[in-house]
Symmetry: D2
Subunit: 247 residues, 4 copies
């Protein structure tokens, strides 16, 4: 029997302020990207590497993207520092089939906003409050093995109204202790590419060590993994008609 | 200038157990249907009447439905007592254009289940808890004039997962004190008919006297009011081809 | 390595008028259901059996459905002869996870209408005309290995407007020689169940011997095959609150 | 009674090559934009002006957009000449509520691609062939008064697969003489803004003088006309929690 091909993941992170902030490095000493890649690499189905904004071409070279099945994006304070032509390169790879998983504050990143056509706007509060993530669509592949709800003891709050287009599937909805709700797990498609957004993951909390969060991200990677990936969008001129014209 | 036509609403209710339960009649002495019709009739745009399960043909005669632009449905313990052919009559009127607003426990009524194709299943709890209704889609017609969130002091809790098809628009999402969330305002279309579901409205709470709830129901009536209403679904045989076949 | 579980398919057919009509039996001597089961059984991934309206409980016993992963439905002139409680049984199995593929004239069957909440109405013409099926969503699992378009030399024409709810995905759209178009491959979900509708397959044409049609139906079977299947829809009472109420 | 407010439309056009091409100026002597504005101005409900790429700030000043309820966009060979910051300005006005109608080849314009997150890719052929536009969603506001199908004698062919996200509503689908089909009328929403795409309108054909095409564009203008328009997307920090945290 043939070996099943591993899913090649690249976890992209800014990794600028976090390095300097003790409150972050205490939780993620080698950065969030490293923590995420680590749990993805625990199984045999995924092979994850990392890439950061200070890498050549901001870690988004043509070679990296062409050899990435699924890109995971975490960014926060440096969304605008990502160069336009590199954000566009990411968007076009997604349109040709590369999967993408946007985590937490990536809702204001250039690739998120350009793929969804949205402002990405929402309400927020940093109060270390409890959040309960509810599974709204238990039959969606990203919800497999996830309970009907689970608790994260401390997270940043994100609130509706969330200015995103109505998703293909609302997979998760979050409850926050302070009285807010948020559509926290959303599935989209754009051309050949699948997109998943997941809300938890503020940099000062150990969210990415939570086993249910890890399982959701593994599921998301598998779901956005391309069914088809094309080389280029060529918009073909169909010179020859299939049926006679002006007969 | 010509007078704008009033929207003709029929508010349907079981009105069986409520009559006998002091805890309900204390709040709605003449029944929920009467309270709903009353606030709808306060403006000049809507003309509302009522209809109950003990009326001839369970209040769902062909004449009533043919002269109803928007049907509002409240039912709870007697869903199964609604006769199949009358539920079907309602469904077919909706498919031909009649608008319908399902309130609260109507999620298990026959017309709801047959129009949405769903089990209507959800979690629930009667604990008189606080609920906050959040506006997820502030640009939807049903959300006009509604704040980003509002409080109802006591309501029955309904919880995700809610086994409904992904809606055309998720207009409202509710937060419950006990830790649950629920998609509480959902917009659908079936053939020519528009459908709105709204969660608050348990019979022992004065929810239908809440001004924001009233405004949402008025908005919903206006939104589901038919754009087009056809006489019958005839599935036409198009004998004559527009283009030559076998040329 | 463990053996992958076969998908258990039941192909349901009326098989009444066809038996008597030479124009049908000349093409499908043992019935359409047998022809469909035959090509499904050619690979090792699917195990297909058949069931017809003259079987006990119209071929829709609890035992059959409980042991069916995917039901394929073909019916035409006897939609109304399917008993209501059996149509309901099919609908409830779909809501709990059983996949269903509706072929051709099944758009007026009771399970189709009750799952989609639609009239199922459309225009039609029996003129043996050419149809070209176009792939609108090449990244959908049902379109895998299907060219951007293919020709069927003779088919019954079905035309827009097709009174169905906007689908989760419009996978195929058909061109007809006589000047009509039709959304001919549509993907839906209802609760835990996946639904695929595919238009070609009139009983007097050898459509089900067309290799591309066969591949589409195989793909559809794989796509609707349940991710999750639950035993019952129990709408749980969540007596215990997760968070303190009235604190 | 108060006067109903007119919808303020700006029709944007490149108007570069067309001026020089006799084959275009023979049909639209003052440009397509002028022809479109003319029929929009025939009724009393719409007040249309025009704007072209050689105007100051490419006809897309902040003042123009702030005073435009609905922008109509026609462009073809100069999509890439539209400056990024001006395309972004258009996108942001749409996200805050301005309606937009994309005509024909505008599917490759920057605002279209950035709002829908799509490549905009499709097949095409310039053969002056017949096209029939079918109404798939007769209850959509843009389809009001439009027959179930109508003929345009000569148009450029656009073909599936069309790399757009599944729309909120598929309003029109086109049949082409040469054997192709195309989703030719599509409705979307992004944040507060409504978007309509309509396929017919190649520059060498008198399509914009076709009364049914004109009615569709008038309907589209009315449908995308903002329900709500906000000043800015401010993503509010909700410092004060509604409910007590850490109680």
């Amino acid at each position: 029997m043939t070996e099943k091909k591993q899913i090649r993941v690249t976890v992209w992170n800014e990794y600028l302020d976090e390095q300097k902030a003790p409150v972050v490095s205490a939780v993620y000493p080698e950065g969030l990207h490293k923590a995420i890649a680590d749990f993805l690499n625990q199984g045999s189905e995924i092979s994850a590497r990392t890439s950061i904004i200070t890498d050549p071409e901001q870690g988004l070279t043509e070679d990296i993207l062409a050899n990435t099945d699924v890109l995971i994006w975490w960014g926060h304070c440096h969304h605008d520092d990502v160069q336009d032509h590199l954000a566009k390169r990411v968007v076009e790879h997604v349109q040709r089939g590369m999967g993408i998983v946007f985590l937490h504050s990536a809702h204001l990143s250039k690739p998120f906003k350009n793929l969804l056509g949205t402002s990405g706007c929402l309400g927020w509060r940093e109060a270390g409050e409890k959040t309960r993530i509810w599974t709204a669509s238990p039959n969606h592949p990203v919800a497999q093995g996830i309970p009907s709800q689970f608790l994260i003891e401390q997270e940043e709050m994100y609130s509706e109204p969330f200015g995103v287009p109505e998703p293909e599937t609302t997979v998760f909805i979050s409850w926050f202790e302070g009285g807010n709700v948020f559509r926290s797990g959303l599935a989209y498609q754009r051309d050949y590419g699948k997109i998943f957004y997941f809300q938890p993951g503020h940099e000062i909390y150990p969210t990415f060590f939570h086993p249910t969060v890890q399982k959701i991200i593994v599921n998301a990677v598998k779901w956005v993994n391309p069914v088809v990936r094309i080389k280029a969008h060529d918009c073909p001129c169909m010179e020859e008609a299939l049926e006679k014209i002006g007969g």
